[in-house]
């Protein structure tokens, strides 16, 4: 079980490390747009929109590993003083909330992504790209969040002294 937990964490760490580079893609796209509009007086129809399509996957993929790092904003006034069983219990409660959150996002986003795929939904802008690939990152990140909550729960139970 512990090794499964480690593998899940490693997967999310890897995805985090990949996703973080997307910010530079966003920077370059925005700069390209400024340049083409201001210098060449010919704004692109695609650069800003492509940047917004990358933005969702960028921050969504950061969430699961952030859960492992304990990087989500939390009020730790009470939990910081908890020790032993209580600390483990509070930790598990927090992970449970994260997993429920992921589960609901997953349950309701899958049909919407499938629908977008089957309609061949486009953004209906001047560039008009298909949008389901960007939307698909929501259920994907939700699964990864649930897995990470599960992995951290296993670790918390197996190694309560580290909580």
């Amino acid at each position: 079980m512990i090794s499964l937990a480690r593998r899940i964490t490693a997967l999310n760490r890897g995805l985090f490390a990949l996703a973080k580079w997307l910010i530079y893609a966003i920077v370059l796209l925005m700069l390209w747009e400024v340049l083409s509009r201001y210098v060449f007086s010919a704004p692109t129809s695609w650069a800003p929109e492509l940047a917004t399509l990358i933005f969702g996957p960028f921050f969504l993929l950061g969430g699961p590993y952030l859960l492992h790092l304990g990087g989500h904003v939390a009020v730790d006034v009470a939990s910081a003083h908890a020790t032993g069983r209580l600390a483990v219990l509070l930790k598990l409660a927090g992970l449970f909330l994260a997993a429920v959150f992921g589960a609901i996002l997953l349950w309701f986003s899958v049909p919407l992504v499938m629908q977008s795929f089957s309609y061949g939904e486009t953004s209906y802008s001047a560039w008009n790209p298909i949008v389901w690939p960007a939307k698909a990152f929501l259920p994907l990140s939700a699964i990864l969040l649930i897995l990470q909550a599960f992995a951290d729960a296993i670790t918390a139970i197996a190694e309560p002294e580290n909580v």
Binding site: F59, G71, A74
Partner: protein, 440 residues
Amino acid sequence: MESSFVLLFMFTSLIAFMLSGAGLAFVLGAIAFISTILLWGPAALIVTVLNTFETMTSESLMAIPLYVLMASILQKSAIIDALYDAMEAWSARLNGGLAVGTIIICTILAAMTGVVGAAVAAMGILALPSMLSRGYHPPLALGAICAGGTLGILIPPSVVTIVYAITAQISIGQMFAAGIVPGLILAGSYIAYILIRTWLNPSLAPIPDDIEDLPLGEKLGKLKALILPAFVVFGVLGSIYTGIATPTEAAAVGVLGAAISALVTRRLSFEMLSGAATETLRVTAMILWITIGARAFISVFVATGGADSILGFVEGVEASRWVVLGVMVLVLIFLGLFLDEIGIILLCVPVFLPIIIALEFDPLWFGVLFMITAQMAYITPPFGYTLFYLKGVLPEGIGIGQVYRGVIPFFFIQVVVLIFFAIFPGVVTWLPEALSQVGK
């Protein structure tokens, strides 16, 4: 009747769940889900996903990672060190000079970056040891760093301002412009306070006898530290106000400016860019996941009548509009003790803004009042970001208690300034109005 129950239920469970120490994003989401199922019907849970799709493609929210990235690169590029060096040379022989200089540097950093962390962390590392080694009264030094660090919220660019503008549906550029004068007034008030306090009691900030004044030529030479910051400030604010770029694009211009600065100071490297990207994703994921949770919370709150019941209540009480405003500001300050600013905006602005408009107040001006309460939130325990940032760099023998004591006078300055702007809205609104008159 049913809707005031909703209000009570949602906010008491919010506080209870939050105290468990679970992530705010998930707490908000979980309460939203429970309330949706109980009060609205499970089918309505789809609303959370639909709001998230919108969040995922928001051009305006995309400014957040860009400003964070810019701050992160600047922090690693040693230009803050050079600034501090210059400031020390110029203010060494002034009463309270290092504390005043800290505020000035924080003001410059505030104009360069949109996030608070960069200024506080840098001043904690650079200014704190040098002030303490001079025998500065620790609370004064710590308070100046914390308060100065938060100036970045009001002085544009600012991530908190962006989130407010998006939530209130007003122009980001206008909201930025509204923050400039109040931000400078606030910085000026901090400086005035330090000068007066150290003039009355010079032992709070001693000037050692052996400090020698540098020759003027050398002092002037150190001013070249201002070149790169000026270049970055002009890149960001200049490109917004000359119409080259939208506020989001301007952030990308700022990233370029920061990278060029790092190139000039020979700090640009693959490791540096990688580290900056890691920090950026951490902060962005944190803010955006809260956004998802908060939007879920707000939708169910509105749909089940909670928002209407607040509006109805406000319209029902026969209080003057100033009393209502005062109560709203107090609520914001109170929430700021416990909650993250982005969370407060996402929760309160959709509820408060209709009231502000109904009372015929200016949303732009209210935004500035909001940003000042946000600055208070950043320096007040138990949940104050600047306190967390400083905790990591406190030297032996200085406890967090001294930080708490240090921020008290600055907190009161913020209160006074807040009341001042509430009474004189013209101070806030003239610059955005003047800027929109230019070019006609």
